[in-house]
Symmetry: C2
Subunit: 508 residues, 2 copies
């Protein structure tokens, strides 16, 4: 039942209203009471399990830490076995491709396992990652990042990985344990896919997903990824879209080597002078992309889509708080969110080849690379965008009549992703959220990319749901990363209820 | 007889024609025959001395090499004493100011000495530097940079410091030895001022010159600096002007920290987007400075000045050869040289705070500094220029209506220098050149700066002459630095003849 929703008609995006009347049967209510009760009762066990996992500093970006990453995979295997998962496999992905210090460095394994294998049930694949970002007390943490601290006063758990992504990942183990202890049968077959390289580009995972599509992952009906966050701190969200990104490099070169500006300033055409002209032509200070044809590729906002934004819990103050400044380009909530989620943006990131240190150096750089990227949205076509970008840069450069040479290349692209927020998986998750938190979730998109989302959708030909557990202020990738205990417990209840509602859904 | 020639009327710049008839008296001819003969005869001794000096890797920019720099100072002391210089002093300049690895690091000493102290004679101070740029065989040298090689076939000496500046520096020692051995009295009192930090900003030298103006340097009539090069490879030059340089940094800041372009691209005003707008407004690709009022400060070219350029041995091919490219903004010799020497130029050097490595990083830099500098010429005023630059940047930024903040600061300035190429010192040097090389020298300026030139002029209140020894292709600061033996020998003869002509001159 795969359909490529990136190309889906916009009518898919409807105003969502989870009908409260249809959420709960008595039978389900009884099950939920038992499961939720067990989750509450097991809280100390779950916190203990998370604490043990956090103690393993599984930093994938630091080659010297690789043994810890592998150790964490083995810790998960042990926990999965203890809870009763079966067919547990460590999938090895071979050596890490360059650039690496150690050419024999092995990628950390992907942990596959399943709970249940009943052909009469739907099968849900849950993805998480057990690797983490680097962290050190000296960075400004208020406690050791790899020693989880439970702050009883603030009711949160602090440590690297609590929210990104070890907390949500262990959530899937925990809910199976809760089901077992509550004597409730898991309503779906569950498959885990836990990787150890997400913070370092998910190296090797695309290939594994492709290889296992008709193997370990055969028969998967839906994929659920719990690796993002609520938009703010109060209202739960479900995420149905991600922007893509096309990264470009414009290179201008002239002299054979860097020159001294005393001797050559004023007599040669300086590549960096040309480059700032090209870069200044791409986007204006109001964020408007100035490349002909780009804005025309963007799908227009429909009234129905606009309504999706009305109830979302977000404000200019939230944006200002997150940037620590008053540098917003828009004041209205809808404008801010639409420009984050559903309009393209062009950012200039920097220069390679020019002087970049503190102090003063009187160099004329001979060859400079300008780096910029465009966040892409429906209905932008990557190849067409690249053509427009190249033509634009070439045209601007040609007007300079410079004797230097200019070329613009696509460094990498990752497509945007958008799902139908009305499909069975989202509907089930929305009901689950309402049951647990008592509110309709906000339906959000994200400005950034999670490329593996698209890989799962395309390779397994099924819907993907982004079901966040933590809050927008959790500090993933930052110091004092935390997960509120209420989000941990609430998140596991939502995961549980989601599986039950999805199992009941008519759609496959 | 000091007059600040930077503010001198432009009529000082006259077409120079050294009258051949008046160059040589019979008495002088006899002296020159003897001195030049001795210089030729002592060639092996002079090459040996230079070779010994080159073997000491006196790299001032590398703290770990500081003992070698000091060792080279002591080597010079020994040589000066052997030749008969008196009052030899090592002037210590104290600890090197930050940034340094070792806070106790002592600056290398300045070597002062004198030869002759006859009140009836004029006194000439000769400046040189004994420190050198870094060099390593691995950089691509065809022989060990600190082991001087005499290439008999090409008749040149290769090694770090041969042309910059150990060769010219030892020239002054050598000509005193040649005079002594030839039995010819030195026609002036000679004072040496040899520093060991020129390649690292001449740290401490300004202060020493100021302190010794009425001390060791009291009574100096003229300063001669032999630390630049012929314009090309064939024709000797005398240098009467240097451009100044004002270095600026424009800082634009907004968000409190770097942001992720996925999450914030399109919703915040990006400081780097604003900065490329400001930088693109400074200068066009044809080298034209776009800041209001700057070009209006430049002294107009007079017909007489224009004539100075007519005979200069230079062409577009020379420029293309030196840049290894065809990136020249002008085709005509006069245009190229005027834009190098007597017009201002604006170069953009780079960015601090932005992404600057290879690869792709999707950062929105929170605070970026754009670095650019303006080479200054008569009659530009540094303070007025800075005012115009700041006003321009502020005006351009204001038009962007950006919520970010922008400020432009002067990082450092060094004034331009221009001398009267008709004064006694230049006239003597022109005669000396004609006697040795048989041609009138080209009167050149330099696009770059030698800030110490202005310090000598201002503190000692006397004329400064730039008298180059080496050629434009010597590779100072580059690999395979060399000094042609003919330039070494010819240069010493010019130095000798210069002292005699200057001693004879009516002007003081």
């Amino acid at each position: 039942m795969f359909c490529n929703l990136r190309r889906a008609p916009r009518s898919f995006i409807k105003v969502l209203e989870v009908s409260h009347r249809t959420i709960m049967t008595t039978e389900l209510q009884t099950k939920f009471d038992k499961i939720f009760g067990r989750i509450d009762a097991l809280k100390p066990v779950f916190i203990e399990r998370l604490g043990q996992a956090i103690e393993i500093p599984a930093v994938s970006g630091d080659e010297t830490m690789r043994p810890h990453v592998v150790k964490k995979a083995h810790f998960l295997v042990e926990q999965l076995a203890k809870i009763g998962f079966s067919d547990i496999q460590l999938k090895h992905l071979g050596v890490q491709p360059p650039p690496v210090q150690n050419p024999d460095l092995q990628l950390p394994p992907v942990v596959l396992s399943r709970f249940g294998n009943d052909p009469a049930k739907k099968t849900v694949l849950v993805y998480g990652h057990y690797d983490v970002q680097p962290a050190a007390l000296e960075d400004g943490w208020s406690s050791e990042p790899f020693k989880m601290v439970v702050d009883e006063k603030q009711q949160l758990m602090r440590g690297r990985g609590t929210t990104d992504d070890t907390g949500p990942l262990t959530g899937w183990l925990n809910i199976v344990q809760a089901h077992k202890e509550a004597g409730i049968e898991l309503p779906v077959n569950l498959i885990t896919c836990f990787e150890g390289m997400e913070e370092s580009g998910s190296l090797g995972l695309d290939g594994l997903i492709a290889r296992e599509a008709q193997g370990y992952f055969k028969g998967v009906d839906a994929v659920c990824i719990s690796d993002n966050y609520w938009l703010g701190t109060k209202k739960p969200v479900l995420t149905y879209g991600l922007r893509g990104v096309n990264y470009y490099e414009t290179t201008i070169e002239g002299p054979a080597a860097d020159l001294h500006s005393g001797i050559f300033g004023g007599v040669v055409a300086e590549p960096l002078v040309d480059l700032v002209q090209v870069l200044s032509s791409l986007v204006d200070s109001k964020g408007k992309i100035l490349i002909d044809g780009v804005n025309e590729m963007v799908a227009p906002v429909t009234d129905k889509e606009r309504k999706l934004y009305e109830n979302i819990d977000f404000s200019l103050d939230d944006l200002n708080a997150s940037t620590g400044s008053k540098t917003a380009l828009y004041e209205k909530k809808e404008d801010i969110l639409m420009h984050r989620w559903r309009y393209p943006s062009l950012s200039i990131h920097g220069l390679e080849g020019a002087f970049s240190s503190a102090g003063a150096k009187t160099v004329i750089p001979a060859k400079v690379h300008g780096k910029f990227s465009i966040r892409t949205v429906p209905d932008m076509d990557s190849a067409k965008l690249t053509k427009l970008v190249k033509e634009h840069c070439d045209r601007v450069f040609a007007k300079l009549s410079s004797p230097n040479t200019c070329s613009t290349e696509l460094v990498h692209d990752g497509d945007y992703w958008i799902s139908d927020p009305h499909n069975a998986s989202f509907t089930a998750a929305a009901k689950a959220t309402k049951v647990v938190y008592g509110v309709e979730p906000d339906f959000t998109r994200e400005g950034g990319s999670i490329p593996i989302t698209l890989t799962f959708q395309d390779e397994l030909k099924c819907n993907v749901l982004l079901l966040p557990m933590g809050r927008g202020d959790d500090g993933a990738h930052s110091i004092n990363e935390k997960l509120d205990i209420s989000n941990f417990i609430g998140g596991m209840k939502v995961m549980s209820a989601y599986l039950h509602y999805y199992a009941e859904s008519a759609e496959n």
